[in-house]
């Protein structure tokens, strides 16, 4: 430290931070406690006696307790509040002061702190107090000691589980037991005995482990919410391994209950089981410790009887009633039992002050007892949901006051405090380290101070260094309430202790405050009111820019505006002294030139409109920044742009994650699409739109979440980009009237940034794919045009005649125009009939959707706007012809590409089709040629060695023969199948096969669709004819064989036999007619 300059000065010992800030009031050293206690003057009473109390201060409450004691009146005070609101602190203070007033103290005081936060600790405190030693029986004391021992046993968990089992088993009335469980009580009994289940319940974080911790060991972290232990529904959501083990080894009842509870819709049942087991806690703890609520009640009653006889009263100060869990019912009963009334006159008067959490008071505190509470105080704010401390809500004075006391205690050593404590510990006498400090004047003027007490006529003012009131309040207000509540404990722990403990030592090294992206902790770092001022800070602050920003957003007014206060220059409302103290350069900042220089009166107005703290107790430096908005002042203030996007940008530039990244990416994508003249780069809007559609292709370094696309453009974290994003936010904020100067600045910034990024962005759009082996990557038009060429070829839309590039392009475009999902599918079906299987297989690999997309995208990427008319387009034939000419020169060789997942749809379709074609096309040409050759050979085999005319004639003749002999008819050829056409077909097929060169072959085969169809028709016809002839011949062979058999087996008569017969007959007749004697 420089001995002359107030710089790098650490006026506290680091180890004192944790000594002083002990969050458990009962554990704090008495001197520290008294030195740090901030008087509470605004207690909220939910109930209090009709007798008037002067005010709502803690002093009045103390006097009320003393008066009750004096006037022999009962006092049953309940201090309710969420954890951290200061219940313990108030009770501890009441107890300390109550005991200090020896004049009124005619009784015994029992103070049960929450330090160990477990029943065992509570019992030990009772035993250690010795208060019961003479009052109650030896047997009761032994019970208490036994209970303490029982709670310390290692087997406590198993004991508790066993007691749960016993209670459930013998709980005949089963009050609170869910109906579905009443029917299956046996299952629960077995469940609690099962070894696997018990292990699960006992595992770290499990309900039994939590209970054991609460009863026996205690833990600030585990029970810091001051809640009583209980079962939770999630305790019965078992993992797969456990369920499997139960299924394999468990009893049927255990298995059934475990399975029943595991169904996803059984959350209600799990909750009911948890609630039921929680309701058994008292019984279980009672059985475990052999100490019941009745035992506790009996002990206290004995004590009160004893004290009554001595004419003494009993004062109970209990920080948290939940530390009596298990026997708390007995304690509550004791508290509610007054010393008045017929049956209670044997008891002494009792003053009790009990700390109770909201949960306990609402759910566990008996309703009939609530009526007996004489003073019911809440430390919660009544406005919200009970998640804030009433003491500090909207009260920066209280924040500063509380912090100042702790800062003073930390600056003092323990001996100094003890000395003060031992001499009545009057606040007015409290030592003030600032009084002994050389830099007091400078320090207090710059950082401010708070009055913590009055000493004679002089106020005791404690400096806020290294904070100022704005820093304390900003940090407190920015505590992240998603994880912790905003309470005094949070102020001490998350602000004062954290900042001094984690960063305090950096003061000496000149590194305090830490840079904006290095705070950590549990409060959110605010952003600059005007994010673009970040540039100014970076420009002027150099290496210290981020620390300066930290200083400005916490200590200052969150601007970098330079103003004048008298003859002093302020930066962000802070004087140079603060910068010097933290070894930071007092940069120039920004001056609002549009307005006259700020006068002292104006600066004064700032102070008036934003007083530090209204109370006289806190004195802010004259330059103190306001914690209320500056807009009410006459000081020219920048437009506030602290919307969530601005905050996100600020956080990002500080090194945090960029949230709302999709919003920024979408806006940036729009900017990129519209600002760059893409046609200059040979790209159509379609191509660009597809890449920069939505937000997926843009990734910001350090954004929250991973990129959703594999293909994306990364923008590195930079202040320039942050400015661009801010500009986009501002330009899109239509609710805000345009600030022409700001807009102008934004436009310049955007233009400059885009100019710098244009080549990179264009390269990104152009080269979505990476070529293999260092080959150049095809452009999108190239991909789509070649896709179109091959699609047209496969579809059969190309012809070899006049195969110039012009003709080819025309044919491609014509074909693409006709390609849609339906037509492509039809072409696939047709190809399956006509082409080689490889040809149709390749077509099938190209999904109709992709074919349609490629076909429709081709003209779109080749489209160019005609002149300035955006509605009229023409095809960029030059580009297309260049691509085709080059491709033809390369003899239709497709260079390999590597396709990427999650690239833009247009690229994805184009590259997928291209990749498919590239892999298969050369092979399918060869196979298609084989297919044609095979068909030709087959056809020729039907004909040769004859001529087509002879074949057709022979078939016709045979057909006549069949007809003549009644053998039916041969298949009729289709009309177009004639001998002469067959001759031409054979010739043309041979011509295709004779073609050389991949292009000629591809075009010939593409155009050969009809020819192949005709060829296949001929083949089919001849095959049918052959089949029919063979069929007839087969039948004829059988007939022939039968006839031959028949004719061979018979001795056939001949015509000669017939002639002979005739001769014989005629001979007989001739003989009969020969001349003879006729008649008589």
């Amino acid at each position: 430290m420089n001995s002359e300059i107030f710089q790098g000065f650490q006026c506290w010992e680091t180890e004192r931070v944790s000594d002083v800030i002990n969050k458990e009031a009962g554990s704090i050293d008495r001197a520290v406690f008294l030195a740090t206690h901030a008087p509470i003057n605004n207690l909220t009473y939910l109930r209090k006696p009709a007798a008037e109390m002067a005010d709502n201060s803690e002093e009045t409450l103390l006097r009320e307790l003393q008066r009750c004691a004096t006037e022999y009146r009962p006092a049953f005070v309940v201090v309710q509040g969420i954890p951290g609101t200061g219940k313990s602190h108030l009770i501890r203070w009441l107890k300390e002061r109550y005991m200090d007033d020896r004049e009124h103290l005619h009784g015994k005081v029992l103070f049960i702190e929450r330090a160990q936060n477990n029943l065992r600790g509570t019992l030990e405190q009772i035993l250690a107090s010795g208060i019961f030693d003479d009052a109650t029986s030896r047997e009761q004391l032994e019970k208490l000691q036994s209970a303490t021992i029982a709670l310390s046993k290692e087997a406590l968990a198993d004991t508790l589980l066993s007691q749960f089992h016993v209670v459930v088993t013998h709980d005949s009335e089963v009050p609170g037991m869910p109906k579905w469980l009443v029917r299956n009580k046996r299952q629960l009994e077995m469940f609690l005995l099962d070894a696997k289940v018990r292990e699960e319940l006992k595992k770290p974080g499990g309900p039994i482990e939590r209970l054991v911790r609460f009863l026996s060991t205690g833990s600030r972290t585990s029970m810091e919410r001051d809640e009583s232990p209980e079962f939770e529904a999630r305790d019965f959501e078992f993992g797969v391994d456990l369920l499997y083990a139960i299924k394999r080894e468990g009893y049927r009842e255990v298995r059934e209950l475990a399975e029943y509870l595991q169904d996803s819709d059984r959350d209600k049942q799990r909750g009911e089981l948890a609630k039921y087991l929680t309701s058994l806690l008292n019984k279980v703890i009672g059985r475990t410790t052999a100490l019941t609520a009745d035992d506790l009640k009996r002990m206290f009653n004995d004590l009160r009887r004893s004290l009554r006889k001595q004419d003494l009263h009993l004062a109970l100060f209990i920080e948290d009633i939940t530390t009596f869990t298990g026997i708390d019912a007995g304690l509550v009963d004791v508290l509610a039992t007054q010393h008045t009334g017929e049956g209670n006159r044997e008891f002494c008067q009792m003053i009790s002050v009990i700390g109770i959490t909201d949960h306990y008071y609402k759910d566990l505190f008996p309703s009939n007892i609530k009526d007996r509470v004489t003073h019911h105080i809440t430390l919660n704010t009544l406005k919200g949901e009970g998640t804030e401390s009433e003491l500090l809500t909207n009260n920066p004075t209280a924040v500063v006051d509380l912090s100042a006391r702790y800062l003073n205690a930390m600056r003092l050593n323990q001996a100094q405090l003890n000395a003060w404590s031992q001499h009545e510990a009057r606040l007015g006498d409290i030592p003030n380290k600032c009084d002994m400090c050389l830099y007091k004047t400078t320090c207090h003027a710059a950082f401010g101070s708070a009055e913590i007490a009055q000493r004679a006529e002089e106020p005791v003012r404690v400096g806020l260094y290294p904070f100022n009131q704005q820093a304390l309040w900003t940090m407190y207000e920015n505590i992240d309430t998603t994880s912790i509540d905003r309470t005094p404990r949070a102020l001490l722990s998350s602000v004062v202790e954290y900042v001094l403990g984690s960063h305090g030592q950096k003061v000496k090294r000149g590194q305090f405050p830490p840079s904006i992206d290095n705070w950590g902790g549990e409060f959110i770092v605010p952003s600059l009111r005007r994010p673009l001022q970040r540039n100014t800070i970076e420009r002027q602050g150099g290496v210290d820019a981020k620390r300066i920003q930290s200083l400005l957003v916490f200590w200052g007014d969150r601007t970098v505006l330079a103003t004048q206060a008298g003859n002093r220059r302020l930066l962000g409302g802070l004087p140079e002294t603060i910068f010097t103290a933290f070894n930071l350069p007092f940069i120039q900042g920004e001056v609002q030139e549009a307005f006259p220089p700020q006068t002292e009166s104006a600066a004064k107005k700032v102070m008036e409109s934003a007083p530090l703290i209204s109370s006289h107790t806190v004195q802010s430096p004259p330059n103190a920044p306001a914690y209320t908005p500056l807009v009410e002042t006459n000081v020219p203030t920048p437009v506030t742009r602290t919307n969530k996007y601005t905050d996100a940008i600020d956080a990002w530039i500080r090194g945090e994650q960029l949230i709302e990244a999709n919003y920024f990416a979408e806006k940036l994508a729009t900017l990129i699409r519209t600002f760059i003249d893409w046609e200059v780069h040979g790209m159509s809007n379609t191509q660009v739109d597809d890449v920069f559609k939505g937000f997926r292709r843009i990734y910001f370094e350090g954004q929250r979440g991973i990129p959703t696309a594999a293909y994306y453009l990364t923008f590195e974290r930079s202040s320039k980009l942050a400015n661009v994003l801010q500009a986009l936010v501002d330009l899109n904020n239509t609710n805000q009237s345009p600030d022409t100067a700001l807009l102008g600045g934004h436009l310049v910034g955007l233009s400059t940034w885009l100019e710098g990024q244009e080549l990179r962005i264009v390269d990104f759009v152009l080269h979505v794919l990476t070529g293999e082996g260092g080959q150049s990557t095809p452009s999108l038009p190239q991909l789509l045009l070649l896709d179109g060429l091959f699609l047209a070829c496969l579809k059969g839309d190309l012809e070899p005649k006049g195969s110039t590039s012009d003709a080819l392009l025309l044919a491609i475009l014509k074909s693409c125009f006709a390609i849609n999902r339906t037509s492509w599918q039809s072409s696939i079906n047709q190809a399956q009939q006509l082409h080689a299987s490889a040809w149709s297989d390749l077509m099938k690999k190209i999904a109709p959707r992709r074919a349609e997309n490629c076909a429709s995208n081709l003209p779109r990427v080749l489209n160019r706007a005609q002149g300035d008319r955006s509605s009229v387009f023409f095809i960029d034939a030059v580009q297309a012809l260049d691509i085709l000419t080059e491709f033809r020169q390369q003899e239709w060789q497709l260079s390999p590409i590597e396709s990427k997942p999650n690239i833009p749809d247009i690229w994805s379709d184009a590259s997928t089709v291209y990749g498919t074609l590239q892999q298969a096309f050369p092979q399918i040409l060869a196979e298609e040629r084989d297919h044609v050759q095979s068909g030709l050979k087959k056809l020729q085999s039907f004909i040769e060695p004859s001529q087509p005319e002879e074949v057709f004639r022979a078939v016709a003749t045979l057909n006549d023969t069949f007809t003549r002999f009644g053998r039916g008819h041969l298949p009729e050829p289709k009309n177009h199948l004639t001998a002469s056409k067959l001759k031409r077909t054979l010739s043309e097929l041979q011509s295709i096969l004779d073609r050389q060169g991949i292009e000629t072959q591809a075009l010939s085969l593409s155009a050969a669709l009809l020819l192949i169809q005709t060829m296949l028709d001929y083949i089919q016809y001849f095959a049918d004819v052959s089949q029919e002839i063979n069929k007839q011949m087969s039948a004829a062979a059988k007939t022939l064989a039968n006839l031959q058999d028949q004719l061979n087996t018979e001795q056939l008569p001949t015509l000669a036999d017939v002639q002979q017969q005739y001769i014989e007959i005629l001979a007989i007749l001739s003989q009969a007619m020969a001349p003879q004697e006729v008649g008589r």
């Binding site: 004909i943 004829a1036 036999d1057 008649g1079 008589r1080």
Partner: protein, 226 residues
């Protein structure tokens, strides 16, 4: 390939057709032979009957039969001549067969008429005298002759032997009846009328009376007068 296949198929069809024709021809010839066999049988019967007719019937009848046979010969000759061009002559032969059967029936009818004419007087006389005591003694012989003659009337004798038998039986019957005593014409008339129930007393002449008184002829029959 197609041409070869067509040729093979065509040849196969031709072969089938040839075999089918051969089969049909065989069937026709077989049918012809069967029919001719029937014709031959009928011819043989006809010629037998014609020979009987020639031997027993009147000349004019025989000439008629001869003319019919000549016509049949002509028909058969024509059929035979047509055989070369039309192997199947079954219908023609059936027509010839029908004519033959008609002619045979005609000859048989002529024979029956002739035979009945020859046999009837003797059989009438036999019926008149069959109750006479002197006839009764040769009753069996006469009956056998009667049966034999009836058979030849029903069954035309188709050869010379049968015809001779017929004539012999007729001759024997006649002889036996001729040898009966006193059986003159008056007695025969009277017996005829008695047999018909038309005899009256006027028919009872002396000669008839004496014949009746002779060898107790009157007890052999009763005379009833109308």
């Amino acid at each position: 390939m197609i041409i070869t296949l067509v040729q093979a198929a065509d040849k196969q069809q031709q072969d089938i057709e040839q075999l089918r024709i051969a089969k049909d021809e065989a069937k026709v010839i077989s049918e012809m032979l069967s029919t001719l066999e029937d014709v031959e049988k009928s011819t043989r019967r006809l010629t037998s009957l014609y020979a009987l007719a020639c031997a027993s019937l009147q000349n004019e009848d025989v000439q008629g039969f001869a003319a019919s046979i000549s016509k049949l010969v002509g028909d058969i000759t024509i059929s035979r001549a047509n055989l070369l061009s039309e192997h199947r002559q079954v219908p023609q032969l059936n027509a010839i067969l029908k004519k033959m059967k008609t002619l045979s029936t005609d000859i048989e009818n002529a024979w029956q008429k002739y035979a009945i004419e020859q046999v009837a007087p003797s059989l009438d006389l036999l019926r008149l005298v069959q109750q006479l005591p002197e006839v009764r003694s040769q009753e069996q012989e006469l009956h056998a002759l009667h049966i034999q003659l009836q058979h030849f009337i029903a069954q035309t004798p188709l050869n010379a032997g049968s015809l001779s038998d017929f004539e012999s039986a007729l001759q024997e019957l006649k002889q036996r009846l001729t040898h009966l005593e006193g059986l003159n014409s008056e007695v025969r008339t009277f017996l005829f009328k008695v047999q018909n129930g038309t005899a009256t007393l006027s028919d009872m002449t002396e000669e008839v009376y004496q014949w009746c008184r002779q060898i107790q002829h009157a007890s052999a029959f009763q005379v009833r007068f109308a």
